[in-house]
Symmetry: C2
Subunit: 458 residues, 2 copies
């Protein structure tokens, strides 16, 4: 038995890919089956991302649908879409029958509408069809869109013995039993029971005597991000989903929520970097361009805006005393941008974790004192630089003081724009990237020349 | 029983905080106990973050240690540290005895060294003391540092009946039973068994007949980030941890891994925003300054570097035809910075998800074609802008072409710096933020003037 154990490390390599391709090319079916037999479906999905569509489709049709269903579930959306195009409605239906209702619904919802109906018509398991139809009716960003219908539920009036019997038959459909949900005669959720409790209870007891009436649940219309937050906060591995009348509809498990959290974190990170769509390093040039170009155009418009501001000061260009100001515009723009990004990132993360508390006035005071400290230190460095390079003290003082003002304003913009967006119900993460950098660039340069004009009297 | 059910929504409000403070002030102990009785420990931890240290400590000492242990576990590090300072070694030991070995070890490891020993000496449960000492010996970034010692393990030679009996006694110490691990006489991990399997097995069967010999495991020295990746990839809710001889040492559950993943995502995000330490919006001004100022100094040095570059072109400042170039430096710096951040973010995320495949040469081609598309579109916009504002075509063409070159170089730097860092074993995430922006700023301005000089012959 030793050899069937496996360590978690799976490394894809060119040799493996080449040998699979070679076996498909010569239609060595038994070789493929033997090779892939011990592979985890997630590993095969990884292998598929390296194979051509023809090779992948051949293998999908060859393998047992019990295995291929899980592989399909695991593939990334683009790869799956291409493979499903090569399968008939009947073949897709066979795959789907192997999946839990939530995964089945995810795959069906990705199909073009005219194919959805055809595939559903081919599914033989009528209960699954009903479940899929129900799940398709929920918004995908709500608890209903994330939940699975498979769960173990028992009636409060049953005995422990009957419960174990019923559970055995229900549990066959449920991959992992986290909790047994207890309902009343109307199907209303009234409590839970762990498998451990059931194992330890006297067989003659009644469920109503042993169940735990304290049960967390979410409403079917709850936002998935809120569900994720709650499951993480309370360390829940599964949570039941109910309707307005507290009728038990389904359950959400932690593995689905982990995916939601990961996507959320990646989305925020990409927005902060000026990438507006969910792209990956291996996507096509065209997809990457669509995600990146709009933000660069925004940056360009901002840069052209600062050209206009500086044109207003063109006459000082010929005056050797003042013209050096133009050398400092990239510095000012960079400081304004960096400070803005820092402030906004802290606020956006704080809002996501609900740690932004206290009054706006206190936050204002904090950002101003933080900016004063940073600005004074950086200003002193500028004066030192000026001294070392033989600049006029008046001139370096002007740069230091206007930079201080720019830093304060940039921090305030970086702090309050996300807070205002959040209050208006807009995702504050869009304010962390090029948006805040660009507006702070323009504002910083404007302020820089304005203050310099006041101080140097030009 | 109805009223003990609860929806997941918990909202902290000023009235609640004020009434708790008032009860503590008048030492209304029974009032506090009644109010907090039905609160989840995670909610009480949230309340604590709003209370003064005196109020929190009073409540910690008042409540049962069964509840306060979980509250302490849930508090953020700073709050916990302050409260623990107010407790005696004996009091801390009582809290710790209520926790699982992993949480207990986390709290002890945060104490100053001289207190650690005192607290451990006060723990009565000798098994827990041994577990804590073992867990303290592992690096906190490895599987050993994350795992708990509590698990349910059975011997392959036991009968199902004996297994259920043993399990009942072991399971009392295990909050959640995900899997029952099967070991041989040497304690070597050879398989697993789900509770479901156990419930369904014949009582007379032997474990060796019913267990599943396929079991995923991780080595005790495995990096936690790799453990997180694997658990997510294979949708595991728990994974056993073994030593070099495959002796079962402990297990890691998904809730711990969710925390690791979240911290990791937040760290990358903060690095990208130029924040070098794990800070939150509610941290002190001093902590925030320490995390932010170093990156601003880096940005300042970069900005001063570009001052030097521009000083080299000071003589063209008095020439009206060329002096306008200086108006475009913030634009060039912004484009170089934005493109660099985009490229590096995609690569860093790709490296984290293992999607960066193919040869370096292919990646080079891709980045160059992407930059060409973006650069040409943006260049055309600049020429359009020049036409609309009456600029020389030669001049606007110069800006467009040098910007195109800057974009290509910035994309290449943004792509290859993280790849090189990753190959050298350095976290590529440090290359996403101010580091890449600053170096691209300088390099972009240098290139801009250099190309302009070639094209305009000054």
């Amino acid at each position: 038995m030793e050899n069937t154990e496996k360590n978690i490390k799976f490394e894809i390599n060119k040799k493996l890919i080449a040998s699979i391709e070679a076996m498909v090319d010569v239609k060595n079916n038994s070789g493929i089956l033997t090779l892939l037999e011990d592979f985890h479906y997630a590993d095969i999905a990884e292998i598929f991302s390296e194979l051509s569509l023809e090779h992948s489709t051949y293998i999908i049709k060859l393998l047992d649908s019990e295995k291929t269903a899980d592989i399909l579930k695991e593939l990334d959306d683009d790869d799956r879409e291409k493979i499903l195009k090569n399968l008939s409605a009947k073949e897709i239906a066979e795959e789907i029958e192997e999946l839990d209702s939530d995964d089945a619904t995810d795959i069906i919802s990705e199909l073009p509408e005219h194919r959805q109906e055809k595939v559903i018509a081919q599914i033989e398991d009528t209960e699954l069809v009903e479940d899929i139809k129900e799940l398709l009716s929920y918004d995908e960003d709500t608890a209903g869109g994330l939940m699975a219908k498979e769960l173990v539920q028992v009636n409060e009036n049953w005995s422990v013995t009957r419960c174990v019997k019923e559970m055995r038959s229900q549990a066959e459909n449920v991959t992992r039993v986290h909790s047994i949900y207890v309902v009343d005669n109307d199907g209303k959720l009234i409590g839970r029971l762990s498998l451990k409790d059931l194992l330890m209870a006297s067989p003659r007891a009644n469920i109503s005597e042993v169940y735990i009436p304290k049960v967390d649940f979410v409403d079917v219309n709850e936002d998935v991000e809120d569900v994720a937050k709650v499951m993480q906060k309370y360390d829940l591995e599964a949570i039941p989903v109910v309707d307005d009348n507290r009728i038990l509809l389904g359950r959400i498990t932690i593995d689905d929520v982990v995916d939601v959290m990961k996507e959320e974190a990646e989305k925020d990170y990409q927005l902060a970097a000026g990438i507006s769509q969910d792209v990956e390093a291996d996507d096509t040039v065209w997809e990457l361009t669509k995600a990146r170009l709009p933000w660069l155009v925004l940056g360009l418009l901002g840069g052209l805006g600062s050209v206009f501001i500086m044109e207003g000061y063109e006459e000082i260009m010929t005056n050797e005393k003042y013209s050096k100001l133009f050398f400092f515009t990239p510095l000012i723009a960079a400081m304004a941008g960096n400070v803005g990004v820092q402030s906004s990132a802290i606020i956006v993360q704080g809002l996501a974790n609900d740690v932004v508390k206290g009054s706006l006035f206190n936050r204002l005071l904090k950002e101003i004192s933080l900016s004063l400290i940073n600005g004074i230190v950086l200003g002193l460095l500028v004066i030192l630089f000026g001294y070392a390079t033989g600049m006029d003290l008046e001139f370096s003082l002007t740069i230091a003081i206007s930079m201080l003002c720019v830093i304060i304003v940039a921090a305030l913009i970086g702090t309050f724009v996300p807070i205002i967006l959040d209050k208006k119900g807009i995702d504050p993460a869009i304010a962390t990237g090029p948006f805040i950098t660009t507006s702070n660039d323009i504002f910083g340069i404007f302020l820089f020349f304005y203050i310099a004009k006041l101080m140097l009297h030009f």
